[in-house]
Amino acid sequence: MSIDVVGTINNGSTVLIVGILVLGIYRALGIRRGFVGGTYRSRATWSALLMLVIIISMLSNYVPVSDPNIQFIVGFVPLVALIFVILAYGDRSVLVAIETDFFHRDTLSWSRMRWVLAIYLVASIIGTVAGGFILTPEEQSSFLGTLLSDFFFFGLAGALAILTAALIVGARRSADRTLRRSILLLGLALSTLVLSIVATSFLTLDTLSYVIVYQGTGLVGIYLIYRSVMSLSPLGRVEKGEVGGSEPSTLRTATHRMVTTTSPQAPALLGPPTAIHSTNAAATRLVVRVRRDSARLRPRPSPHKSM
């Protein structure tokens, strides 16, 4: 029995990547709920959106379509959506980095560069879409078709490389340590995407080396995006002994006393009074023990006296 190594690696890493992304979306939305400030909420939302679009574009490869035109749409539309989300999120991240820089330096002339990149990408996408519909499959694999495809993919790699550089430089300049880490990790994640586009263009599709490079860079990139989300806020760990339901009796009793005397919201504030009960139980045990000990110490009637 032969094992399809390429297919196994492909499917296994896809499952792993989708798992990381689903967890990332869940946690990004959790972080979003915890924030009041607009900048951080917005970053959490964008991260969740980016991960969702990555999942859609990955799973679109598994949609069984026979019509080449529909196949082109199913493959190309999620890719274009992904590119737009990456560029929009990257653009916002660079702008936030510039805003949080003490000197508000225009990182890599980003205020002008963003428009150049946007126009170039829109033009190349329109060209590729038009080519996809106008050119026949034979023409698409001809010199003109390859040129059009290369124009799109190398242009995309160039745009992403500039964005990556702007993110890394902008992150270094940001005064906000939290944002700095998050933006830097996003920049590094995009650098793996650039590396993937460039490296795989020299490899034959669906060979082992291609799959290893493609999925390996993908895994690293996705993990970096996940870490970027998680570094949006320093996270603490709840110590089990200190959660509200089992906190020491001093506070629980004190809280109970003040709340019952001052606020009608006492039950809501207190929660289940387990600690008070446990204190009472401990007190009861102590009283029983004292009684038992005192009974043991009590002088017994002397047998001689009774005689």
Partner: protein, 222 residues
């Protein structure tokens, strides 16, 4: 005691809020809602007729917009020391003038209860060496506490190395921590009173929510 402006927090801290003549530090990551706690503190002071001073590195218009977003009416406003929109300017490069202007404003209101809320601690810590900032804040806190005043300061978690915040916490009578916590896969915003003058150590976490109608603090059950 000085009301925090949030009734559930007042109850938690021993019926009436922050202790008199105290300095309170609220530590939390950016965007978690520390400022809202400061706004409610100032609002409560304005309602009670206290003299309220807000020292900020931001423009007054930005703070007012945030206040409105937190559901606080801006009909009554505190006196400002701000980067713009106030008669007295807050220049982060001149820490001495910030301290001087704050103390002068407090001195002008002798006999009244004073509430000072500020968000300049973190920027000043970023721009100045820790040693000089420790001396600066210890002097400011000591002078403000000589009068009937409560200082409420905000510090950004994640913007400073851990030893910096630990050092600054020594200067304050009360330290409240707000941050996101991991509980298994879920992430929850929780609130913890690390220390408070006149109260035994308060263990346990509390869930908090900031809405346009106010702030609510309830014990967190795991």
């Amino acid at each position: 005691m000085v009301s925090t402006g949030v009734s559930s927090l007042d109850n938690l801290l021993g019926s009436d809020g922050y202790p008199d003549r105290s300095a309170i530090l609220v530590v939390g990551p950016p965007g978690i809602g520390k400022e809202a706690l400061g706004y409610w503190f100032v609002r409560s002071g304005l309602i009670q007729g206290d003299y309220c001073l807000y020292v900020t590195h931001r423009p007054v218009t930005d703070v007012l917009r945030d206040m409105k977003g937190s559901g606080i009416s801006t009909e009554r406003v505190p006196e400002w020391i701000a980067s713009s929109g106030s008669s007295v300017k807050c220049d982060l490069r001149d820490a001495t003038s910030i301290s001087f202007n704050t103390k002068e404003a407090v001195k002008r209101n002798v006999g009244r209860r004073v509430r000072v809320a500020t968000d300049v601690l973190s920027p000043l810590l970023v721009l100045n060496p820790l040693e000089s900032m420790y001396n600066y804040w210890s002097q400011l806190v000591a002078e403000l506490k000589q009068q009937d005043s409560v200082l409420f300061a905000l510090a950004e978690d994640g913007m400073h190395p851990p030893n910096v915040l630990t050092t600054m916490e020594q200067l304050f009578d009360g330290v409240i921590e707000m941050r996101l916590y991991e509980e298994g896969l879920a992430i929850t915003p929780l609130f913890r009173v690390k220390k408070m003058l006149g109260l035994p150590p308060l263990h346990g976490y509390f869930r908090f929510s900031v809405t346009s109608t106010g702030m609510e603090v309830v014990p967190h059950v795991h």
